[in-house]
Symmetry: C2
């Protein structure tokens, strides 16, 4: 049976309501206490509607987080990892945008709850890392690779290590709240990391 346009619209609205409800709730009560029942109640749908599309709360949250990451990018006018030719400027733009996202509770609370849940639940953590985190890390890696191919990074640069030197300290400061997460921190981090891996602009060694 083919769906009518109205039924498709209702479906889309329900899906959207379910994803939104799951994000708000996981930020409020944490992953462990989140239930499909509560998501259904908050979204104004029946439990069976959720189970028609998803097999577990983890699956709902995976899709919700992917949608959220996409929206955060769209709101920031993001059309892919920037590549202006200036690696330092591009990385600073991305890390500053990440700092801004983490300052927004709508985004921050669910991501924090899922990161914490994944840290102690290896299976959940592996799924989130694979579907959410790795695709993001791959974008950083691709940008660094293009800089390496342009001769701005030494041929032997360990791209994975470089990516983790960028996102690691930022994630650490965010998750453990050891100090304020600011644009200045993002900028200083990019400058020091690039100096550390031997970044050169226009063929000249980066000035310190």
């Amino acid at each position: 049976m083919t769906k009518t346009p109205d039924a498709t619209r209702r479906s889309d609205r329900s899906r959207r309501a379910i994803l939104d409800a799951s994000l708000v709730l996981v930020g409020e009560v944490g992953y462990n206490k989140l239930t499909i029942e509560a998501i259904a109640a908050r979204a104004g749908v029946g439990k069976q509607t959720i189970y028609r599309w998803w097999s577990s709360k983890a699956e709902v949250l995976l899709d919700a987080s992917l949608a959220l990451a996409g929206e955060a990018g769209a709101e920031a006018g993001w059309t892919g990892f920037p590549d202006t030719g200036d690696l330092a400027a591009d990385l600073k733009a991305v890390l500053r945008a990440t700092v801004d996202e983490f300052a927004d509770a709508r985004y921050e609370a669910p991501v924090r709850a899922l990161t914490a849940a994944g840290a102690t639940d290896p299976e959940l953590g592996a799924r989130f890392t694979q579907r959410l985190l790795e695709p993001q890390l791959a974008l950083y890696e691709a940008r660094l690779r293009s800089a390496r191919e342009a001769g701005q990074l030494p041929a032997g640069t360990d791209l994975r290590l470089t990516v983790e030197m960028l996102v690691g300290p930022l994630t650490y400061r965010w998750l453990l709240r050891t100090a304020p997460l600011t644009h200045g921190f993002a900028d200083a981090l990019v400058d020091r990391v690039l100096a550390g891996v031997g970044y050169v602009t226009a063929g000249r060694p980066d000035s310190r």
Copy 2:
């Protein structure tokens, strides 16, 4: 009333059993599901014995974690942050020891459970950061300061940023399990971070 030597020994044994039980249990069931009742049962003491010394499970775990960190250091023959004059070697020794600790489930499981719990419980997180994390970060910072005073780091080096560039990527890889935590990773991280902040040995710029 003064305690007899026997009573003191019994007290010490009970405290030790309680701290040990809290660490094993938090690794097994996580922070949220941990109860004073379960700690008492596992330690073979009454609940009232625990409440005589601690006001909450968070306080028990704080003391247990501090004791654990002390023991891990003692087992590694640790008598303070190494200062051989060779900053790179000293930092590699410490980060390698951290990699080894994280490979030991006795240490890893409770620290992971507490880190995750602190990430989503701001009050708990602040207490653990203040009592456990900050004292450790301060040791790194002191070592970097002595290198700066010895002229091995530029006068303007941001010590806090440098510390987070070292512990951030290591914590990230450990907590999110994005890649294996190895001595090679620790060494490469130290080399790149020190190059990034302009480390010089014996007055010569660090070779890349």
